[in-house]
Amino acid sequence: MNPGKFSRLITFLILIFFYIPIFVVIMFSFNASKSPVWVGFSFMWYKELFTSSYTIWKAFLNSIIVAISASFVATVLGTLGAIGLYWGKFKGKDYIWIISYLPLIIPDIIIGVSLLIFFVFIKMKLSLLTIFIAHVTFSLPYALMIVFSRLQDFEYSIIEAAYDLGATEEIALFKVIVPISFPGILAAFFMSLTLSIDDFVITFFVAGPGSTTLPLKIYSMIRFGISPTINAISTLMLVGTIVMSIFMRKYLRYIF
């Protein structure tokens, strides 16, 4: 059944709806005026962003530090978890699936609030470390599921074949399992990276003074009202998003 005119019209309208606000934000990042009335083309807001916005770059650096470290840990633990879940024979696999699905279902704000209360309860000072712990926590289930779905694409018999041919567990792991799941491992890493750089709500609760990440910084700037500097940051982040979307496209099927 070919789609009719109706669904074509809706798709067209939805894409306009998606892109008009984004396009307007990009356009006015090049405006030569502080107020959102077009006066002429200028790079002045980018110049300001690159020369006199120390706190924004500090926040950006914090985001990068947390994103890379948390994604690395989440990918390693998630990959090992997926291999264990796929390979191992043990009871209680259902419980592992339940605690993996729950963080995806429960609203972010609950994860943020419960971690904040937990950190205060165990008297842990809020800092980049608490943000790192939170980011590993919400990335882990995604990492596990992405690697697991990659593993499922292969017959379990290739592991048995490796064993039959005399492979030890280490050899089977590093010469068979890790290489075949590598695209999944890479996808898990980039997924965690994106989730981490993107997260606002959970970070908002577990961040302490001096551990502002880029989304927290953008949030406090938005609260002060619209400013062309935010448009300039948004434009740069959008460019990053578009590059990443093209790159991630072929891995998206491991997520859905």
């Binding site: 669904s7 984004i22 934000v25 605690i99 429960i106 609030v113 709500v201 953008i218 619209i226 991630m248």
Partner: protein, 271 residues
Amino acid sequence: MKYITAYTLWLVVFFVIPLIIILSFSFLEKTPYGGVNFSFSLEGYKSLLTIGYLRILWRTVWISIISTFITIIFALPTAYYIAKSKFKNFLLLLVVIPFWTNSLIRIYAWIFVLGNNGIINQFLKLIGLVDSHIQFLYNPWAVILVIVYTYLPYAIIPLYAAIERLDNSIFEAALDLGCSKRKAFFKVLIPNIKAGLVASIIFVLIPAMGSYAIPDLVGGVNSKMIGNEIARQLTTAKNWPAASAISSILTLITLLGVIIFVKSSKKEVLN
């Protein structure tokens, strides 16, 4: 078994235990500057039984349901068109880009367009149509608009995946047997993509229920949602048992919702 130990341990310590802590704290006494006394109390829950709270809870539910409904209505034809299009890779990319775009930027884009100092108001002022501004934002409908904008890609992608997997011949069979296109949509397409539809609804409804940033930035005093109230209890009011109680209730509502929803849709598919 040993490979999964670290993963499981991490989630137990930093996810399961914190949830157990807030559930327990919701039954304890508050101390004036945040924190709790370890004696049993139902004050946390009792403080929620006020008109103000019930109003916020009710508002959260209706805003979330209306947003989800609007989102699905628009996501279905879009996902269908993309799945059947010759340019589906390109169209899918156009949906995926907003999906990966930072949510604060997407909220900001609407403040930039519709805000009191936004481009529409500046334009209206320039042509002399208004003196100061029209307040488009800071009401529940602005919250719904931005929720729909934020979560539409989350609904389109699973629906697209479900439609794409379908065998086209079932439609041909239906049409050959004299079924109208509209009837084929409701009687053939919808029942066959139920799993994708359930996933889409969950992906929109649950984050909508837990919204914090959207009502905080584009909502007014009359559009605060449960998420804003949790944050207020935790930070300004320093009432941990109350914050824990609301969080526990929100968790319970979403979990029950998901379980009932997934179970009932499974049953229908089997029938």
